[in-house]
Symmetry: C2
Subunit: 226 residues, 2 copies
């Protein structure tokens, strides 16, 4: 594209939903400005750009805002379509890709997040089992493939990958003896995470362990004080 592009991302450094967009933009080689939002005091720009949900991430491209991370990723794929396609070309393969991205978003993510919250509490084991049930479904989907997208990274890898990396750092920070995405239980997923880590674009986006540790500690202090 010939014109000068202005690409701004309203985000927070720890959000896996914002993480997806950062991965997608970097994969496409798009220069962008990150604007860190304070969610306890949302900026006017955020409120005006996403009045319905008032949530990050929001991508603002040449002044036009796009919200909802799955919608933003498809937008990025359509606008910057010359390199690193996130969706395949064939309509049936595209449908399967959207199906799995939706599954990660609505089923897998929710169950893993809930299992994290419940860790060490009553019902924690059942929540972990539900998360693992969804991980088993994803593990099966990886059979015979390097990435969910096939030979190269695609929409499902970006949708799930940024969250999977965050989970690993979180497991380490929290010093858990049970990893959420345990490589012994999910060997294909373990291999997949390794392959992701080899990509330069992923290396440059690893979640900041120190900030994450501080955030977890702050939340623990809050619940202890409550």
């Amino acid at each position: 594209m010939g014109e000068v592009e202005e690409v701004k991302l309203l985000m927070t450094g720890l959000s896996p939903f914002a993480g997806r967009i950062i991965w997608a933009l970097k994969l496409k080689g798009v220069e962008f400005e990150s604007v860190e939002e304070d969610l306890t005091n949302k900026s006017d720009l955020l409120l005006q750009s996403n009045p319905v949900h008032q949530k990050i991430p929001v991508l603002i491209h040449n002044g036009k805002p796009v919200s909802e991370s799955l919608v933003i990723m498809e937008y990025i794929d359509e606008v910057w379509n010359q390199t690193c396609p996130l969706l395949p070309a064939d309509p049936h393969q595209r449908a399967l890709t959207r199906f799995w991205a939706k599954f990660v978003d609505e089923k897998a993510f929710a169950s893993m997040w809930s299992a994290l919250q419940m860790r060490g509490k009553e019902g924690g084991e059942a929540a972990l089992e539900e998360a693992h049930e969804n991980l088993r479904i994803l593990e099966k989907e990886l059979e015979g493939k390097k990435f969910f997208g096939g030979e190269s990274i695609g929409l499902v890898d970006v949708t799930f990958g940024s969250f999977a990396k965050l989970l690993d750092v979180l497991d380490e920070v929290m010093g858990s003896d049970k990893k959420m995405i345990d490589e012994d239980k999910f060997p294909l997923m373990g291999k997949w995470k390794e392959q992701l880590s080899e990509l330069a674009v992923v290396k440059s986006c690893l979640p900041p362990a120190d900030k994450l540790a501080a955030a977890v500690q702050a939340r623990r202090n809050e619940s202890a004080a409550a």
Copy 2:
């Protein structure tokens, strides 16, 4: 497309999610076979075609299944792309369309369904207020437009329209004094529903009031007996 197409839809006659797919296929002029599923005794074809969710609707096109109604609609739009586009061509307009379809699916639909379930029970008024809050957001989106898609019917109209029509029939069948999508409260939406009803394709898809009445009565009998 030159080849002989085999298009099969696993559905139930009362599902608004299946209703969307029927609208979309009819808008595109695609010949298809409807296969009514008994959800208390799901067919092997359904279980094999959508093993993850085991839910209708599933579209089976030349033997290849696609699940999740929003995903199916985008698939239909991509395969039968010569007529009646459900998504616009411009990437930003496409993103907005996907945003609103998602809003209808995840926010509006859920709140309206919950308000229906709670009708006449404790908390019913609060549930209705939440549904109306989402309807106000949609009403605003219709300002200055004939359809959500602009001058012609598009993805958001199909996503919401098949449900809105079902709600109207349901209101009538249940003899409610408060309509869910009340034309006095939501005049633009009232006009929109009229415009939808004028389309031949929508006329041919109106929900079957007699079957709906029987289903509502059966559910009432069940709760009375419980």
